[in-house]
Amino acid sequence: MITESNSTLVWMKSKFSQFIHNRFRANEIKIHELSYLFWECTWRCNLKCRHCGSDCVSDSKVKDMPFDDFLNAILPLKKIYKPNSITVAITGGEPLLRPDLVECGKTLRKNGFHWGIVTNGYAYNADIHARLLSAGMGSLTLSLDGFEENHNWLRANNNSFKNAVGALELITSSKRLNYDVVTCVNSKNFSELEELKKFLISKNVKAWRLFTIAPIGRAANNLDMQLNNQQTQELMRFITQSRLEDNMNITFSCEAYVGEYEKKVRDSHFFCRAGINIASVLIDGSISACPNIDRSFIQGNIYNDNFVDIWENKFDVMRDRIWTKIGICAKCKDYKNCNGGAMHLWNSNRDGIMTCVNERIKQNL
């Protein structure tokens, strides 16, 4: 029975947890230990997803970065970090389109780094699966955005669902590969979530992460991508309830602070670690944090700068985010917990966050 004293206790526990997390976050910012590094290895892609934040295409004129350029930029990290404390996330575009992907991964592993890929699964087959594992791939994220009609719609390809499910079956059969499936929840696939959950459980998926679609890249002006306020709150309730069932680890992504749903839809508090623990080397050598962050936040370039110097001495805009206290954030009582939200929701104008999930949830209450 929930009594008043119980609910007070829960509230106090929640506040205390958030307080400790905020202290933890401040400490982590001071340390800014690099532990996660994106490599945007290609802008080529075998799909043309409607929501692509990078606007990747099959015939991208932007050349793939030579692997040696990336490797030489990051090897100096070994002087100050244990390489096995750093995970390299190979992303794109579609990493599987790089013919040297296996060799790149093996070389990273030989140098002590852990690595994995983010893939749409379209070109994923048994052979590449075995070769990637044998090259030391330790983790993988696969995109699955609904059942056939809706997945194919979002991915703009009539075979993408079939191929993604084939990839899924390979991935879930691996005993020692850490992986998750990500779904970008939009107005079209929203009603499928319950059935999709059952489908993933039937395929022995262990971890499922749900996103909303940020209004960036190709999704910027597409209203079909966005959930309304009610759907946003229902999504939070769906995840909260599903986590209680304990069949699969289901989480909301780290894309946004979600107020009262913090710790209910994720294992930990919201913490955008872009520039704090996360960096990236982009296709043209630019040094930034997550690849979907606006390019105006680029901190340097591996072809002109020393990556380690940039990591240690730049990134102030991401380590001190007081500049985000503007627009709807200026007077928000949750600002100290949210700290301006996720970096990828800020554009070059820096005149306000593009969207606030917490605000959308609150407006529906």
């Binding site: 947890s17 400790i20 994995g116 670690r273």
Partner: protein
């Protein structure tokens, strides 16, 4: 940078009070989760028992796992396998007569190597 003592202490304090190590285990929004960090390098050389020459194209696979590779033209192989105390490795000639014909061989590898690297040289008998 890496944490100094005070920062490490604050980190430890926060995670102890909150009774969670989840804070350390994260992955970026649009990235994949970190791996379990438990794959090790298994490498070596395959030669002919008769001539001592290296054999190219031998498939080196691990029982119960998908992992495999083929020997290079100098007979060497190199692949990452999940960390296990013991695993069974199979050497098989799958390219017909192209590089000669050899009998398959399998062997149990006991891993008590703390360097996360296992070296094994194998010789195969001709068919």
């Amino acid at each position: 940078m890496t944490a100094n003592r005070k920062q490490k202490f604050i980190r430890w304090l926060c995670t102890t009070i909150s009774l969670t190590s989840v804070a350390f285990i994260f992955h970026a929004c649009y990235g994949m989760p970190p791996g379990y960090g438990d794959n090790i390098c298994f490498e070596g050389k395959v030669t002919s028992s008769k001539t001592g020459n290296p054999i190219q194209g031998i498939k080196v696979s691990v029982e119960d796992y998908e992992h495999y590779c083929h020997t290079n033209d100098d007979g060497t192989f190199n692949l990452y396998v999940p960390y296990d105390y013991r695993f069974k490795v199979i050497f098989s000639d799958i390219d017909s007569v192209e590089n000669g014909q050899y009998l398959s061989k399998d062997t149990i590898v006991i891993n008590n190597n703390i360097d996360n690297r296992i070296q094994l040289n194998v010789s195969l008998d001709e068919k």
